[in-house]
């Protein structure tokens, strides 16, 4: 009798529906550059378990070049990419099949940067001077638009690539369009220089999201649910970062041991107010920027915003 | 007059089997305007001897004297002709012949006339503008001979100058070598392994042994030159020399 009972118990046990956790869905996300404090919420979302709870296993990759991430996402080689709003609009206008799905940094980080003590108080003081820019095809156009709207006349544009610090320090250029207000400014200060800057959105350039999450159109259609969950977790990551900045930063340092701590600590302080407060896109803002892009010559054809914006 | 007295040269080595005594108390004397020929098997040290004479190597002991004056080597005193024609491939034949004068400082009207005359004398007329690669081996050696004659130096060293040529060409060039002595009064020292060539050209034949290179026999010849195999005594002389050259016992 005992034997039968034992066997029965065993059989019952075996027949019970085993509560197995559903296999996590994988997402590859290519960053816009090497990991830096702009990406803290992404690491928070991963390492605080928000993504795991949503059943997502995420892998962060670094590109070899800043336009790589977006193109690879469009081609389906990575699931998501961290991109820039202006660049995304250019891509969409050129017919590259991408859509914007989430927000990371909701204001421009690029600035028109110069050094203190050179007698520059307002933008028009840069008339007749040498102004550098970091990315041909993008920053030189922004510079031109900025100059038109702020009365900078007769300036000489110089492509400085990414040699921002030497160019300013040596005085080869008087200002540079492109350095980030949360990053290069800290770099310059650490090198003993005194940077000042004009914020683009406060000088006539329409406000835009510096960093957004981008997906290929096909990828979005195929995996809409997962991607939506991802951006939700990103929103949670941003919120948690704003609520617990010190812990968030330590978490980031643990995830990215090669980060230059001192510098990034300060950079983080300047980045904190820039993180996106919502995953919902500012449709009006995008329309304004798109019109500006067309008018300033950044794009030649209209960018179809309906297709492009797939936020919450 | 070229006098070599008691030249010795040894190549040392940690490996006893590689140690080589090339020359040991080697002496010879070539009178002014004379034609001496060294005959010996390959590898007996003839080239090492010439290396010492031209200054590419130095003897361990011994003396070299030219016209009674002791000299370390014959640099600047002798002209040199080798098995390889050593013509500069990028210069046409005429320029190759003028080379010694150019190197010395400059080419004069006389130099050009002299060179032209040599071209005629040596059967090269018409080929002045040709590059060495466009003419035959025999012509190249004739050109080398012309250059040798344009070099400063009353002494001429010939290191197997005809060995690279075919038998027919070799015969025709032999007579030209005699010009060095007969028309230009040079003192000639020649190395060869061709016994018949030695008999045809030499006033004095030095029959050499090997390791170290020593003089087995000196044969003085005085009949008119060039001598041919058809002449009386030629074959007997050849056999005599070949006999002298035969390795005596231990070989290298």
């Amino acid at each position: 009798m005992r034997k039968v009972l034992a066997l029965l118990a065993l059989a019952l046990f075996a027949a019970l529906p085993v509560h197995a956790a559903p296999a996590a869905e994988k997402l590859t996300v290519m960053l816009d550059w090497f990991p830096n404090v702009d990406h803290v919420p992404l690491f928070v979302a991963r390492d605080r378990g928000f993504l795991k709870d949503a059943g997502i296993e995420v892998e962060y990759l670094s590109p070899s070049e800043t336009s790589d991430a977006l193109k690879l996402a469009a081609a389906g080689q990575v699931d998501l990419a961290v991109g820039y709003q202006p660049q995304t609009i250019v891509a969409a206008s050129a017919g590259i099949p991408v859509c914007a799905v989430g927000r990371l940094v909701e204001h421009p980080l690029s600035t028109l940067l110069f050094l203190k003590g050179k007698g520059i108080e307002k933008p028009s003081d840069l008339s007749g001077k040498k102004i550098g820019y970091t990315v041909p095809g993008m920053m030189d156009i922004l510079l031109k638009a900025f100059a038109e709207r702020n009365g900078i006349a007769n300036y000489e544009a110089v492509n400085v690539g990414f040699t921002i610090v030497p160019a300013l320090a040596a005085g080869t250029v008087d200002a540079i369009m492109g350095p980030f207000k949360n990053y290069e400014t800290v770099e310059l200060e650490h090198k003993g220089l005194a940077p000042q800057w004009f914020e683009l959105e406060k000088h006539g350039i329409p406000d835009y999201d510096e960093l957004i999450i981008v997906a290929g159109k096909n990828a979005y259609t195929a995996r809409k649910a997962v991607i939506r969950r991802f951006t939700e977790c990103l929103g949670k990551g941003i919120a948690w970062t704003k609520a617990h900045p010190r812990e968030a930063l330590e978490l980031y340092f643990a995830a990215v041991p090669e980060a230059p701590r001192e510098m990034e600590r300060e950079a983080f302080a300047r980045t904190l107010p820039q993180y996106a407060s919502s995953q919902r896109f500012d449709r009006k803002g995008w329309e304004t920027f798109a019109a500006f892009a067309k008018q300033s010559g950044l794009i030649e054809r209209e960018a179809p915003l309906d297709d492009l914006l797939q936020g919450e | 007059m070229l006098e070599v007295s008691r030249l010795s040269k040894k190549y040392d080595s940690d490996d006893p089997s590689a140690r080589l005594t090339v020359l040991s108390d080697f002496s010879l004397c070539v009178p002014t305007g004379g034609f001496a020929v060294l005959v010996g098997p390959s590898g007996c040290g003839k080239t090492s001897f010439f290396d010492i004479l031209v200054g590419s190597a130095s003897a361990d002991s011994g003396n070299i004297a030219w016209n009674g004056v002791a000299v370390p080597n014959l640099c600047g005193l002798c002209a040199y002709m080798q098995q390889k024609d050593l013509l500069l491939p990028w210069l046409p034949l005429f320029e190759n012949v003028l080379l010694p004068r150019r190197v010395r400082g400059g080419v004069s009207r006389d130099d050009i006339d002299e060179a032209r005359a040599l071209f005629v004398r040596l059967g090269l007329k018409g080929f002045e503008g040709f590059l060495p690669s466009s003419v035959s081996g025999g012509m190249r050696q004739r050109c080398a001979l012309a250059r040798t004659l344009m070099m400063r130096g009353e002494c001429v060293l010939l290191d197997e100058p005809l060995s690279a040529l075919d038998a027919i060409t070799r015969r025709s060039l032999r007579e030209l070598l005699l010009l060095l002595q007969s028309e230009f009064g040079k003192t000639v020292l020649m190395i060869t392994h061709d016994v018949e060539e030695a008999i045809a050209l030499a006033d004095d034949i030095y029959v050499l042994g090997t390791q170290p290179m020593d003089v087995r026999e000196i044969i003085r010849l005085s009949s008119p030159k060039p001598r041919s195999a058809a002449q009386e005594g030629f074959v007997a002389m050849r056999e005599r020399i070949l006999g002298s050259l035969a390795p005596a016992g231990a070989s290298r």
Binding site: A94, V158, T163 | R104
Partner: protein, 246 residues
Amino acid sequence: MIRRYGPSLFMILLLCLSWETAVRTLDVPWYILPPPSQALRTAILRSPLLLSHSFVTGGEILLGIALALALAVPLAVAMFFSPVLDRAFAPFLVASQAIPVFALAPLLIVWFGYGIGSKVVMAAIVIFFPITVNLLQGFRSCPQELRTLFRLMEASPWTMLRRLYWPFALPYFFSGLRVGVSVATIGAVIGEWVGSQKGLGYLMIQANARMSVDLVFAAILWLSVMGLALWTLVGRIEKRIVRWKN
């Protein structure tokens, strides 16, 4: 004419066909790798733009070649005649080739500015090594017997350099030069990537930022043609000067 250019034209056609086929069958997006037909079309349609930038890059390359020659020839001569200098410079020679030029580019900008200078120096660095090494090899390959001949003619070192070593080394020099000019394009373009106003390298970055990937490849096409033209030109010059076989 067909016999001379036939085989290479055939290979080029074959390559283009495989590329075109691969892109179409593998469905490679145009913004990652455009098919050659598209790149070629852009290369032709936007010739005026590409031409004006080519002049700039071409100028940098030619000046770079001149600079490299001005440095390489004396250095090779010095290293040949002086064993001490040879030992001293040999490691730098090797290093100049081993260092990734991309790492040097920002330094050159700091030293030579954003103008044409840094690009010329960059191109020169890339060409310098093959020229020097080949020339040196040419000098060293001169047979001992010829050197002895000149010594017997009591030639001075300068005479030997002028009449023996230099002519002898010319074929070697030209092979080094041919290699050098074909990689000079790399040096100039990389120099332009890190701060320039004009040139095919600059155009490539600008086109890339504007997502005009076909223009990027059109620029690459023009660069290849430029490299090819330089290679052929040097070959022609060599044929004219070196009429002998060593």
